[in-house]
């Protein structure tokens, strides 16, 4: 479903991501963790078609991002780490904007928008301007928008930033349900507990290089720490 092959991104002489290759099958939740500046956001931006890689290829549902970027993007729900939106639109108008952009059927739009707003507890705020939303509400609106067109792949950068504990729990459960229904989720996070709870497999990136991949158990084994949790394994592997 997601295929990254020898992905490299250079900023001048600095290599942000080096020769990254990952295959993520359908229905899998893949966690992407790493220290600050390791290359997580750069990878996510390349996967979302926001940034071109220096070399290597990205395949989303069998579509090459370089050859058919619009077609590939249509299969993606993208959630960035910072919820910047059009402040002068209402929540519902923003969803309509996204719906039109991603080709959501006009007949089903209203029901879908209401469903998503309801899931993310934004229904009572639907007709308010986004400028009056809190940080967490904006983050929830972005998630609602990313799921509006029923994408096959969800790419998420730091999903829990700004969310309250109830919303965090809701998002974790939602991601699991979506994966069960066939969605592939690529999620970058600093919250190791979230990665441990939700992800089927985890990749650790450090200084632009993928240093380990596998289940939480695999990573613990690799770190040679028998009774360790993911945090200990992460610190050991990245230090």
């Amino acid at each position: 479903m997601i295929l990254l092959e020898n992905l490299t991104k250079k900023y001048g002489v600095f290599t942000a991501v080096s020769d990254l290759s990952i295959t993520i099958p359908k229905k899998e939740i893949f966690g992407f963790i790493g220290p600050n500046g390791a290359g997580k956001t750069t990878t996510i931006k390349m996967m979302g078609g926001i940034m071109d890689p220096t070399s290597g290829s990205i395949n989303i549902c069998g579509i090459n991002m370089k050859d058919e970027p619009e077609k590939a993007k249509k299969n993606i729900g993208f959630i960035p780490d910072r919820p910047y939106l059009y402040e002068k639109l209402t929540g519902k108008e923003f969803l309509r904007f996204i719906g039109n952009l991603y080709g959501v059927d006009k007949k089903t739009f209203a029901a879908k928008a209401e469903e998503k707003l309801n899931i993310f507890s934004l229904l009572s705020w639907a007709d308010e301007l986004i400028e009056s939303y809190s940080h967490g509400m904006k983050q929830r609106l972005i998630m609602a928008a990313a799921l509006l067109h029923d994408p096959e792949v969800l790419i998420v950068d730091e999903p829990m930033v700004g969310l309250d504990p109830v919303a965090v729990r809701m998002v974790k459960d939602l991601f699991k349900q979506l994966a069960e229904r066939g969605m592939t989720i690529f999620m970058s996070t600093h919250t190791l507990k979230v990665a441990e709870d939700v992800c089927d497999r985890i990749g650790i990136i450090n200084k632009g290089v993928l240093i380990a991949t596998g289940t939480v158990g695999d990573l613990k084994k690799k770190s040679l720490l028998a009774d360790a949790d993911l945090e200990d394994a992460f610190i050991k592997l990245t230090s």
């Binding site: 002068k88 007709d127 009056s132």
Partner: protein, 566 residues
């Protein structure tokens, strides 16, 4: 007290460093040349003001009996106008600096008292709101000094007393803002002030224009002028700070040092009193006002979600962006004053043509009407360039931080740019055609001139809009708090220059053939073969240039924007 100044200086450090660092750091060559270019343009403008002032003052002094009165009245008006501008500018700047800047939340979380934060922000606000007015009024005073052969004292005193005027204006502005924030939320107040300011300015301007001030140069109404000049001798109110500044400059010009010191002293002591009152008021109400600003403002209108009418035939992306652009445009109150400005521009533009005294001109009316119509085409397109600079050029920058949405969307950058092009093209085309057709009707031009103007504008408007969109996409400014101001940047300057070149090229290409056709029609003779070839070649060139002006900048913009990261 030393602790007070130390804290204020520390609070000013980020501003000082962010100004200094880019100057000291090894900039790229491109940035260096860009700054050099902008600096040179600013300097040339300063020199231009200086030369015009020098010539005007010399001319005034040559008018016996009236010269002195005119010069000093001009000086008094300049000081009073600068004072009004400084107050208006300081109200807007201090509102942003004291209540709306993004860094204020961080600053207010620091262990520093409210009056120290206020003082630091007030100093910043004073510098930001007054530097331009002071720098660009100085050439007038320098010219005044040169014409009057004034000594060094005049220049020093003028610079210092203008500084005192800046402090006074800033003090008045911030006092007003601190009080007003208690009545109206700061976020909304900025829009209201801008709107009221523009409305007031436009009303005064339209009324002044409708009074037909050009009649003052008409000898038939000369007796009125003499009466008018007599009223010029009336002194200004001695209670106005601008009067003290004016008196100080006037006295220093005549070399009366003591008297000049007295008026400068008045001005400086008032500035100090204003600062003192401001700090006292800041202690009482600034922090409370800031805290009030942090709460969300209430909503006046309810919004109902639906696609905009008539957008049903567009593609999904087209519908999405057209709806978004139009809704966000009209919900941004800062745009309303701009629309008012365009309305006033149309009224004055058309009115100017209706009062042209063509019958008094020494050349035949038919030539003059058609010559004016031809030149009007250029003028109208220059006006359009200014309007496009305000609306089409910032169209990409208005995406601001939400630009990631554009990059992540399943749509080509090229398509988005073309959607933006069409959003601005239709209204600007209608505006230009209204201007050109209405003025041509007033001028009663020949059918040929009417058709030529109509078609030329039709050909050139897409080019000007495309240059705006294209260059706005190549040099976007997503970080600006007000993207509308992006036209004052390097890219905006390039846009203006390229549009000016484009308009001039078309005017030059059309001028010769139009003259030949017009003369042949007036003298009722046919054109020579050479003239026909020249005409066909010229008009073909106009069509080619106009097409290039559409596609080249759009391609340029697409390439540029593809490289920009959110």
């Amino acid at each position: 007290m030393p602790g007070f100044f130390k804290d204020v200086l520390i609070l000013l450090q980020p501003r000082f460093l962010s100004f200094k660092n880019p100057l000291v750091a090894a900039n790229s060559k491109k940035e260096f040349y860009r700054n050099l270019f902008l600096g040179a343009a600013g300097f040339l403008f300063w020199i231009g003001i200086f030369i015009i002032s020098l010539r005007t003052l010399k001319y005034f002094y040559r008018i016996e009996g009236l010269g002195d009165i005119l010069v000093f009245k001009l000086l008094s008006m300049l000081v009073l106008t600068s004072f009004s501008f400084l107050i208006f500018s300081s109200i807007l700047t201090s509102l942003s600096k004291l209540y709306l800047s993004r860094d204020l939340v961080l600053v207010h979380s620091m262990p520093v008292s409210g009056n120290r934060i206020f003082t630091a922000r007030w100093i910043e606000s004073t510098a930001d709101s007054s530097w331009m007015v002071v720098i660009y009024t100085l050439p007038v005073f320098v010219a005044l000094g040169i014409v009057n052969k004034a000594g060094f004292f005049f220049y020093l005193n003028t610079a210092l007393v203008l500084l005192s005027l800046s402090f006074t204006s800033s003090g008045i502005g911030s006092l007003f803002v601190m009080a007003a924030v208690f009545i109206v939320p700061a976020g909304r107040m900025k829009s209201i002030l801008l709107f009221l300011g523009f409305t007031l300015f436009l009303t005064i301007f339209i009324v002044f224009r409708l009074l037909k001030p050009e009649q003052l140069v008409d000898p038939e109404v000369f007796s009125t002028v003499v009466v008018y000049l007599d009223t010029l001798k009336a002194p200004s109110s001695p209670l106005l700070p601008s009067t003290w500044v004016y008196d100080s400059i006037k006295e220093s010009l005549s070399g009366s040092v003591k008297s000049s010191f007295f008026h400068s002293g008045l001005s400086w002591s008032f500035a100090a009193v204003m600062l003192f009152i401001n700090i006292l008021m800041a202690d009482l109400i600034y922090c409370r006002g800031f805290s009030k600003t942090q709460t969300a403002s209430f909503r006046v209108f309810k919004y109902k979600d639906s696609d905009l009418p008539l957008t049903g035939l567009l593609s999904g992306a087209g519908r999405a962006f057209v709806g978004k652009e139009i809704k966000t445009f009209f919900r941004d109150q800062t745009q309303w004053s701009q629309l008012l400005l365009i309305g006033a521009l149309v009224i004055i533009y058309i009115f100017n043509f209706s009062v042209l005294p063509l019958e008094k001109a020494p050349i035949k009316t038919i030539y003059l009407q058609n010559l004016l119509s031809f030149l009007n085409m250029g003028l109208c397109l220059f006006v359009l360039t200014a309007v496009a600079g305000r609306f089409a050029y910032p169209a990409v920058s208005t995406e601001r931080d939400a630009f990631w949405l554009v990059k992540a969307a399943p749509i080509k950058i090229k398509t988005i740019l073309w959607i933006k092009f069409f959003i601005y093209f239709f209204p600007l085309l209608i505006l230009s055609e209204i201007l050109i057709v209405a003025t041509n009707i007033i001028l009663q031009v020949e059918t040929f001139m009417m058709v030529l103007s109509f078609i030329s504008v039709l050909l050139m408007v897409p080019g000007i809009v495309a240059i705006g969109i294209g260059f706005g996409a190549t040099y976007p400014d997503f970080k600006s708090e007000n993207p509308a101001q992006s036209v004052t940047s390097f890219g905006g300057l390039l846009f203006m220059m390229i549009c000016a070149g484009f308009i001039m090229a078309v005017i030059i290409l059309e001028a010769g053939p139009v003259y030949s056709i017009f003369m042949a029609s007036v003298h009722q003779r046919s054109m020579t073969i050479l003239q026909w070839i020249w005409t066909i070649l010229s008009f073909s060139m106009v069509v080619v240039i106009s097409i290039i002006a559409i596609f080249l900048p759009m391609r340029f913009g697409e390439k540029g924007l593809s490289k920009v990261l959110p």
